[in-house]
Amino acid sequence: MVSFLKKHRVIITSTALCLFSLHIASTNVKGIGGTIISGRVISAIASPIQYGINHTIGAIKATWASYVYLINVSKENILLKNDIDKLKEENNQLKEAALLSNRLKELLAFKEDISGPAVAADIIGIENTGWVRTASINKGSSDGIKRDMAVVTTLGIVGRIIEVQPTTSKILLVTDPRCNIDVVVQRSRIKGITEGTGTNRLVLKYVRHEDDIQIGDKLISSGLGGIFPKGMVVGEVFRAEKGDDNFFMDIELKPGADLQKLEEVLIITGNISPMSPLL
């Protein structure tokens, strides 16, 4: 018996760990994140590096935009090259500051419109591999962030907080299959539920063939569930066809918020009354 176990220890250990992993996965599928001590350690180590890399990429992009068009400069320009270089660098820093200022002004104006406290945060990492759609931000429990807080931009709902560390948090984006939002069609007031697909699209479920919905319709959150405030844009219909089951429609949406270009977001930290509108 002992020699059998020794001979097949790799397979036995692999199988035992497989079953253990499957058990963890099946109990964890909806209990997203939770308080995992190893997650805190990993976040504490990884988030400063992610922040540093993102800043470096921003500087590289700024430098590339400034200098790529200087390659074929004339003799007269060569004489003035030092002055131009200094001015371009200064101009570029001012442009970046202006763009950042515009984005933050929009966010601040939006924050002042919403009826409740909110915290602004920077995106420091986006997870887009396979089917998972999450993003990391540079605010955590020390800034008042808690699980299940809604995350928004001026264009619409981004997602909700699923994991909180002292100085960082993780957002479950609306395009993740685990993110479901109760919505209403703005025009016809048809109710449904959106679900992420693991790609850059959402699907709208439980809309019947005879319901009034068409391409271009905007979907807003209904406020049910107490996580997402009422009246925020979730997405826009770009495909609506009759489903194969001859009862529900097959509807695809694009998210309201531009998830490919997320840089700053707002986290709504106040208590959300399920039916009261945000704006």
Binding site: L17, C18, S21, N28, W131, T134, E195, N200
Partner: protein, 168 residues
């Protein structure tokens, strides 16, 4: 323990790069699964308890880092590890075809396992995303194999040479 440490550090670095640089440079469906390539390489030369535990930890690290379902990546990667240790008895990583083709095959198997597990856990994802990820993973695999090989040679010179002989 050295193998475990090397793979843990490499996987952590890759996961950071994936969430910052790669997510900007590449569309999401073309980001290669480097963790899978590492497990594939590990299974070919280190079918031992250390390899099993390393695979389990790499899967756990992937899930914690990405915010996915904890345990899912460990489950699929361990199955891949078992399949690859069986395959390593009849194949060696000595040709480009085996490296690229084998990685694409294993990536598709992992995609199917992930899809099936998610369906079992009542989560739906599109099936087609498996294939572009498998192709990009296959294309990148020879470079990742070469990198891991060099790092192993540097950190574990004597054992590394043995590994080269046994794998190539």
């Amino acid at each position: 323990m050295k193998i475990f440490t090397i793979y843990l550090v490499l996987a952590s670095l890759f996961l950071i790069i994936e969430s910052t640089i790669l997510s900007i440079l590449l569309p999401s469906l073309l980001i290669p699964d480097v963790i899978l390539i590492m497990v594939f390489y590990l299974a070919f030369g280190n079918a031992s308890l250390e390899g099993v535990l390393t695979t389990f930890v790499l899967g756990y690290l992937t899930d914690v880092f990405s915010g996915g379902i904890i345990g899912l990546s460990s489950f699929t990667l361990l199955l891949i590890f078992i399949i690859t240790t069986k395959l390593s008895k009849i194949l060696t990583l000595n040709s480009m075809l085996i490296k690229v083709g084998g990685t694409i095959f294993i990536s598709i198997i992992k995609g199917i396992l992930t899809y099936t597990s998610l369906r079992f856990l009542n989560q739906e994802i599109p099936f087609y995303i498996i294939f572009p990820i498998a192709v990009s993973t296959g294309i990148v695999s020879p470079f990742v194999f070469a990198l891991i090989n060099k790092i192993e040679l540097y950190c574990i010179p004597y054992k590394g040479e043995d590994k080269i002989i046994s794998r190539y």
